[in-house]
Symmetry: C2
Subunit: 349 residues, 2 copies
């Protein structure tokens, strides 16, 4: 049985695990593994926001322009597209892109093609909102889990390899214990969100400054290839509870330490909705994420249902990736987004 922790990152523990040495998980799960030597990755959420009355055509063109900038040697290794409507009745197209090397991301984002587009006054005047939330966890600062070993989504699509069955899952606290850093570090947060420039209430350009150990979770559900009976089971019996939990975090997250929660549905380049959803949640700390997951009835119900149905829901592809990062490895930038967008809502005033 494999460890979720890459052997290269195993070190003498100063913090114990919660479970006995002979712990055996109740069902199989897997983690992504780096196929080559990498030290730090990049996840960037690139968004286009438009109000109810605006033209979606223009927003889709903007999204397609963002994707067109991905070509070239420094572009991301993988990306996917999604749509969500937020609780301010704004529409959001989001491209989530991954790099295996922060230097490549830096070259890409500072290239004239990208930088001139982002910094152009046109962005302030074209009637759309834009956001760019990027964080760069080191390899010891993230974990992944999948119920399957093929065609991994998200960061798993760029890591290049996958483990065998891992030991660290199936108990509360196992998410933390899959982080290599958990061997020696509690990953406590340092402070709160602050505005580095701009003013969320005024629109225009805003930059939010993060802090050490903001936790980011991407948790996905893919029923595209499930048989009809499994699709029905998921959509009728499980998804409603998931949506309840996601809406709670979207609308009440501030009280539990969730800075932002976007529950999105995958789309193709033309905007057609696909049979796949995921959330991207930003949390004040890994501990805050743990507390919600362990205590909130919607998540407990989701977890209970999954545990009960894991064997019968083999064709439902579930996964998550969770990371923390240093404050210096985060950027959260907004252009003409409503003030409850992303990290702006919970900045300290």
């Amino acid at each position: 049985m494999d460890s979720a922790i890459d052997p290269r990152l195993t070190c003498p523990r100063t913090l114990p695990r919660r479970v006995p040495e002979d712990y055996q998980p109740p069902y199989p799960s897997y983690s992504a593994r780096a196929a080559t030597r990498i030290d730090q990755v990049v996840m960037s959420c690139l968004g286009v926001q438009y109000a109810t009355e605006a033209q979606p055509e223009q927003a889709f063109e903007a999204m397609q322009h963002i994707i067109s900038m991905f070509s070239g040697p420094d572009g991301p290794r993988h990306h996917d597209l999604s749509y969500h409507r937020d609780n301010q009745d704004h529409h959001n197209l989001m491209v989530v892109a991954y790099w295996l090397d922060p230097a490549a991301y830096a070259r890409w984002s500072s290239s004239p093609m990208v930088a001139d587009w982002w910094e152009s006054d046109d962005r302030l005047q074209d009637g759309l909102g834009y956001f760019r939330e990027t964080h760069c966890p080191r390899l010891e600062q993230f974990e992944t889990i999948y119920g399957y070993q093929n065609d991994l989504p998200g960061i798993g699509a760029v890591m290049g390899a996958v483990t065998g069955e891992i030991n660290e899952h199936g108990y509360w606290g196992s998410m933390r214990e899959r982080f290599p850093l958990s061997q020696t570090d509690w990953m406590w947060p340092s402070g709160g969100l602050t505005v580095a420039s701009g003013n969320p209430a005024d629109g225009g350009r805003v930059v939010v400054k993060g802090h050490d150990n903001i936790a980011v979770i991407r948790s996905g559900q893919d029923w595209k290839h499930a048989a009809p009976d499994q699709q029905s089971l998921y959509l009728d019996k499980i998804q409603p509870t998931l949506v309840d939990g996601m809406n709670f975090l979207r609308d009440n997250g501030q009280a539990v330490g969730c800075y932002s929660n976007r529950f999105v549905q995958s789309i193709d380049l033309d905007g057609t909705l696909l049979g796949e959803t995921y959330n991207v949640g930003h949390w004040s700390s890994l501990a805050a994420l743990e507390r919600w997951a362990e205590t909130h009835s919607t998540h407990l119900r989701i977890f209970a249902t999954f545990v009960k149905m894991a064997a019968t829901l083999e064709e439902l592809r579930l996964y998550h990736e969770v990371s923390v990062s240093d404050g210096s490895n985060q950027t959260s930038e907004y252009i003409n987004c409503h003030p409850a967008t992303g990290m702006m809502r919970d900045v300290c005033r």
Copy 2:
């Protein structure tokens, strides 16, 4: 805010807590506190077993005789009565009795009144089964939790005092963290159950030898004084899930490390069923109990429902007490009980 751990038993931690120092529980809970200096307590489960065809009158007389032996200075400080039918279709009356002092228990159980009755050949020939399972945890070896502060049941009825709101609850792992011993000790088990004398398959007298850190949980539900709407809510929406979980442990416990699980209903001296149930579960380790509670869908559903309804179920009195004990502080004795009774089922062969 109080700690569940008595200040007298607080010591420098060598094992960390799972939650941050500023953790705040999501709803109030309380623990029993020793009002006087005590070091070790005694919980004894005294049972009378009869087969379907046998006369319940005789069993009730035996139970009443057991209770009659409680009078006197060395008798238990508190006891309660219950009934359950087990999965061998045997009926069981059980008296659970508590002492604040193992010396008093030793004097009581070795007194001629008690010892002569237990050791009499009449016990082998009166057509009833008897069991006596006793364990004596030291004060650092048990924890309690209640949703209320008055009229505590079980061990709480003899401890004499109650805390204010405690910090250590509302997260997975908090049960362990309420044990004073968890500050420095994982409470791992030592070995399995063995037969000290007799042969379960033959009936007659059997003594089972335990091992260090067998965990015993008593977890109760009291709806006697709830308003009718809360009674209905409990009996219709929550109890069926609880019964599913209890039946799973009764019938499939061996696979998950649960030696015995009795889900019982309180009765009065005449056998009238009262609006109160509890289970007494014996586990191979605290870790095994944790794993089941954290993973099994019935328990997750119970927990999720409780968390969701905690505020609206104020009149439902929920509690539990969990202990571990040294193997030398346990006795499990049986007379003419069927071989799946109590600790007999899972003895190593």
